[in-house]
């Protein structure tokens, strides 16, 4: 069940901040991870202007770019179709949204297409690695009013472990414009900032780094961003593994097997469920201590077991976790409770192995219970789906 880890693993993290006072972001960030192909695609698009109009332009651009790439349409054709499709702005008389496409194949070969976004950065060995770029001219239809040709930049490289790709909208490079310190905006200052940040924390996750960059741009504008700001980071790394065990095995003979999995797993471990933790405790001879100090009202308290990173109650906690996962980022992730503890561990993991026991606790099906308890198998399936589709984790699900 434990996935092949020899493949390159790519962690994708992104963060966005709206222009001050806007409730809609004019930038779009779309990502796609195909599990079968082990292929990762990310698109960043910045629509002309800001607000709803920009959002529509960038969403159209990003989703076209993403879907064309998934189907491996030729890049030039993709770019041309996008440029010809966008509606023309009535004020400025042009149709416009920038885009950057990052397409990484399973063997680590990455292709980039850039159109008018700030330069895509590639970080190797802690410093910026210059990409060899090829300009390509896309001619316009003659029917269009604005008949200027447009240039796209093409490049490609074979990625190695610990490489990072960083892409942002001009909200980042233009942040701080007009300030004493940076009259022309942050510009290439962001490059130094990234190198500095990596020096301090060489293994910073993609999620954290993208957040830091956007937060710093917000700071440059003294917390009133003048433009929509987005950043995507892709980080090639050794996958961080997480094991979630929940539920007693269908056959009691498998109790030992479950305990062995927990014992021998290399990575973080979570055990969810009273009976499950009792089985693990019995088989591995570990004591369970329940911590009653920090009790959050709706979720049963966490326990401690030596060698296990987190021990929680089962179905209530997992149910609440799936509710958290269903909501959209970003919001305050530093909340208390067993469900939030699991959530944070999930965000930091790349490969998630879920071992679910399918024995049904008949007592839970009592219709007079004050709370409705889902069947574990269903909850776990839903979790696995959410983690794959929305959080781009590779999930291995095993029922025992």
């Amino acid at each position: 069940m434990l996935a092949n880890t020899k493949k390159l693993f790519i962690e994708v993290g992104s963060f966005q901040q709206n222009k001050f006072g806007n409730s809609v972001c004019g930038d779009s960030v779309l990502m796609h991870k195909s599990i079968e192909e082990n292929r990762t695609i990310a698109v960043v698009s910045d629509g002309l202007g800001s607000g709803v109009k920009a959002n529509v332009l960038s969403t159209m651009t990003a989703s076209m770019a993403l879907n064309f790439r998934i189907r491996r349409e030729p890049i030039v054709r993709t770019a041309k179709i996008i440029m010809d499709t966008l509606p023309i702005d009535s004020v400025r008389n042009i149709s416009y949204a920038t885009f950057t496409i990052i397409d990484i194949e399973s063997d680590g070969n990455a292709k980039f297409v850039e159109y008018d976004n700030p330069q895509l950065l590639m970080i190797r060995d802690g410093s910026i690695h210059e990409l060899k770029k090829e300009e390509f001219r896309i001619s316009r239809d003659e029917t269009q009013k604005d008949s200027n040709d447009r240039m796209i930049m093409l490049s490609d490289i074979d990625l190695q472990k610990e490489d990072r790709l960083i892409c942002f909208s001009d909200g980042v490079t233009q942040s701080g414009i007009g300030n004493m310190e940076m009259p022309f905006g942050w510009g290439s200052g962001v490059n130094d900032f990234i190198v500095e940040t990596l020096k301090e924390d060489p293994y910073i996750s993609a999620r954290e780094l993208s957040r830091k960059i956007v937060k710093q741009s917000e700071f440059n504008d003294i917390f009133k961003p003048k433009d929509d700001t987005s950043c995507v980071v892709l980080y090639v790394r050794e996958p961080r593994k997480l094991l979630i065990c929940t539920g007693p095995p269908f056959k009691e003979d498998n109790d030992k097997y479950l305990a062995e999995i927990v014992k021998n797993y290399k990575g973080k471990k979570i055990v969810c469920g009273g009976t499950t933790s009792k089985i693990v405790s019995r088989e591995l001879n570990l004591e369970i201590e329940v911590d009653l100090k920090d009790v959050v009202s709706s979720i049963p308290p966490v326990s401690r077991m030596k060698g296990i990173d987190l021990v929680t109650e089962g179905i209530i906690t997992l149910g609440s976790l799936s509710e958290i996962l269903e909501r959209e980022l970003p919001y305050n992730i530093d909340q208390k409770g067993a469900d939030w503890d699991i959530y944070r561990m999930i965000l930091d993991a790349d490969v998630i192995d879920i071992v679910a026991g399918t024995k049904i606790n008949i007592a839970h099906q009592d219709p007079t219970l004050p709370v409705e308890l889902e069947i574990r198998r269903n909850v776990v399936k839903k979790l696995a789906q959410l983690l794959e589709k929305q959080y781009m984790k590779s999930v291995n699900l095993k029922f025992i």
Partner: protein, 84 residues
């Protein structure tokens, strides 16, 4: 010290132990220093009986079924030998 174990497994939790564990913060003065509240991942309700009676709690070695605050305090007082 008298050990009081409260089960915080799913079944017990939703049938009342979520309130029982809060009892530790408002114990009467005379027994406050004589008991220690401990949680338990499961006291075995799901396998030991045909018809389980949650929530379960254990005072010393005595298992209490369908435990509520009254029953729990009664047992604690009687084991400590203090008049309630």
């Amino acid at each position: 010290m008298l050990n009081v174990r409260i089960c915080v497994g799913t079944y017990c939790y939703i049938t009342g132990s979520s309130d029982l564990i809060k009892l530790k913060d408002r114990l009467p003065e005379e027994i406050k220093d004589k008991v220690s509240f401990i949680g338990s991942a499961c006291l075995g309700c799901d396998e030991s009986e045909e018809n389980p009676n949650p929530p379960y709690a254990k005072v010393g070695d005595v298992l209490i079924k369908q435990c509520n605050e009254e029953k729990l305090l009664d047992e604690i007082y009687s084991q400590l030998g203090i008049e309630r």
